[in-house]
C-alpha cells in the first residue's frame, strides 16, 4: 500500500532538526518507554509477526500517521492487533495456553532475534548485473516496495538468498522469495532534482521484472 508511511522523496516536510547525539535521551517520555516494552513483550506471545505489526501501523489515514509521533503510531498498531486478534477476550476465557515469557525468556528472545533466511525452493531468476524494472501499483496490502521506485529501472548488485517474503508474511503466510539489492541511479528516480546519488534497495523477486534491453 502507498500509505502515509511511504515517505521516500516526499516534498514539503521541512528540516530534520536532529537533537545533538550527546544530548538525546533514548525515550522522551515515560509513556514511550512503556509502549516500546509492551509492543515487544506482546510480540513475544507469537500471535503476530513483524510484518503484521508494521502493517497494523501503516493501516491508518495518512494524515493521522504523519501527525502522530513515532511511538503513538506504535501504540495505534498494538491496540489494533490486540483487537483484531481478540487477544484480551481469549486471555479472559483462559482456554488457551498462551506462553508469556518471563524476564529470562524475554532476554533469550531478544538475543536470538528472528532470522528470515530460508532454504531455496526455486532457482533465482536474476543474477548480479541484471537490469530489472519495478512494475507500478503492486497492491493495496502490506508491501516493502516503496512508491518512489515503482516504474524505475535498476541493476541487481547483490543477491541475499531466499528470505521470508514480507508481503505474504503480513497475511500470515510465511514463505520465502529470493531477495536482491537493486541499485538505482539518482536521475532515474529524481530526474533533475537528483544530487548525483545512487540508491540501493532490498527488493524481493516478485517485485521485479527483467528489463527489456
Amino acid at each position: 500500500m502507498i500509505g502515509g508511511h511511504d515517505l521516500g522523496g516526499k516534498h514539503g516536510l521541512g528540516p530534520i532538526n536532529p537533537e545533538p547525539e550527546s544530548e538525546e535521551p533514548l525515550f522522551h517520555a515515560e509513556w514511550e518507554r512503556r509502549v516500546f516494552a509492551l509492543t515487544l513483550a506482546t510480540g513475544m506471545l507469537g500471535q503476530w509477526n513483524i510484518d503484521e505489526s508494521r502493517h497494523a501501523r501503516e493501516r491508518q489515514h495518512p494524515v493521522d500517521y504523519l501527525k502522530q509521533s513515532y511511538y503513538e503510531n506504535w501504540l495505534v498498531g498494538l491496540e489494533k492487533l490486540l483487537d483484531e486478534k481478540h487477544l484480551l477476550e481469549r486471555a479472559a476465557q483462559q482456554q488457551e495456553n498462551l506462553r508469556v515469557p518471563d524476564a529470562e525468556g524475554a532476554e533469550k528472545i531478544l538475543a536470538s532475534g528472528g532470522p528470515t533466511l530460508m532454504p531455496d525452493t526455486a532457482p533465482a531468476r536474476f543474477a548480479i548485473g541484471d537490469r530489472v524494472t519495478v512494475p507500478k501499483r503492486q497492491g493495496s496490502g502490506h508491501t516493502r516496495v516503496p512508491a518512489y521506485v515503482q516504474g524505475a529501472l535498476g541493476e541487481v548488485v547483490d543477491h541475499y538468498g531466499t528470505h521470508v517474503f514480507a508481503d505474504a508474511n503480513a497475511r500470515g503466510d510465511r514463505r520465502g522469495e529470493h531477495l536482491y539489492s537493486v541499485r538505482f541511479d539518482g536521475e532515474s528516480l529524481w530526474g533533475n532534482e537528483s544530487q548525483g546519488q545512487s540508491v540501493s534497495i532490498d527488493l524481493w523477486e516478485p517485485y521485479l521484472e527483467a528489463a527489456a534491453i
Binding site: N17, P18, L26, E30, G113, P115, T116, Y148, H163, S198
Partner: protein, 210 residues
C-alpha cells in the same frame, strides 16, 4: 519538548491511554512485569552505539577482522558477542574517498539494533525518511557534513530484514592509535552515515577538558 513538561500538570490523554493498556495486559496475564523491565533495561543499558563503535574501531586497527567484517558481517560481529533482534542479517558498507554511504528506512524505522541500539528520533522522522533518498547532500549539510563533489553518495534504503552499518573512514593521524582510543572517535551518526568519524583532535580536546 514533551520531556520538559511540568510534572504538576495532569497526565495527558496518551499517558492515561498507555497506563490503561498496560494495566489491562498485566491483569489478563498477557505480559510479565519482569519481562517489561528486562526489555527496557536491555536497550537502555546493554545494547547501544558502543557496540558498533567497538566493531568499527576493531576494523580500523585489525586488518584481518576488517576483512572478516566485510565478507561475513553477521558472523564477524557475533564472534564479538553481538547478535539478536534487528541484527539478524547484517551488511557493512565501507566509506572510501570515492564513496560515502548513508542509511535510511523510508517505509518505517529499520535500523541495526545490535550495533547501534534504538534509532534516534530524527532517523524515524518524516523529513529524514523522505529526503535521505532524494536529496542526501542537503541532508548531510543539515548535519554539518560537506563532502567533495567527487565523492559519490550511495544511499541504502532498508526495506527488508537486512540491516546496514556504515564503516566510516579512519580519521587521519590515528594510524598508531589503539582500539580503545579509536573507539572514542566513532559517533553513532558516523555509523548511520550522516557524519564522518570525529577527527583525531576531538580526542585531544576531550583530554584537555577532563
Amino acid at each position: 519538548m514533551p520531556h520538559d513538561h511540568d510534572h504538576t500538570e495532569p497526565p495527558s490523554d496518551l499517558e492515561l491511554r498507555v497506563k490503561a493498556l498496560e494495566s489491562l495486559l498485566l491483569e489478563k496475564g498477557l505480559v510479565n512485569p519482569d519481562a517489561l523491565n528486562t526489555i527496557i533495561e536491555t536497550y537502555e543499558h546493554k545494547v547501544g552505539p558502543r557496540n558498533g563503535a567497538h566493531v568499527v574501531a576493531k576494523a580500523w586497527s585489525d586488518p584481518d577482522f576488517k576483512q572478516a567484517l566485510l565478507t561475513d558481517p553477521t558472523s564477524a560481529v557475533a564472534d564479538l558477542g553481538y547478535m539478536g533482534r534487528q541484527g539478524e542479517h547484517l551488511t557493512v558498507v565501507e566509506n572510501t574517498p570515492s564513496v560515502h554511504n548513508l542509511v535510511v528506512c523510508t517505509l518505517c524505522s529499520c535500523y541495526p539494533w545490535t550495533m547501534l541500539g534504538l534509532p534516534p528520533v530524527w532517523y524515524k522522522s518524516a523529513p529524514y525518511r523522505a529526503r535521505a533518498v532524494s536529496e542526501p547532500r542537503s541532508v548531510l549539510a543539515e548535519f554539518g557534513t560537506e563532502l567533495p563533489e567527487s565523492t559519490d553518495i550511495q544511499v541504502w534504503d532498508s526495506t527488508s530484514e537486512m540491516r546496514y552499518l556504515v564503516l566510516p573512514m579512519q580519521p587521519a593521524g590515528t594510524e598508531d592509535w589503539n582500539e580503545a582510543q579509536l573507539q572514542a572517535l566513532v559517533s553513532r551518526n558516523s555509523m548511520i552515515g550522516v557524519e564522518l568519524a570525529k577527527p583525531a583532535s576531538a580526542a585531544a580536546q576531550r583530554d584537555d577538558e577532563s
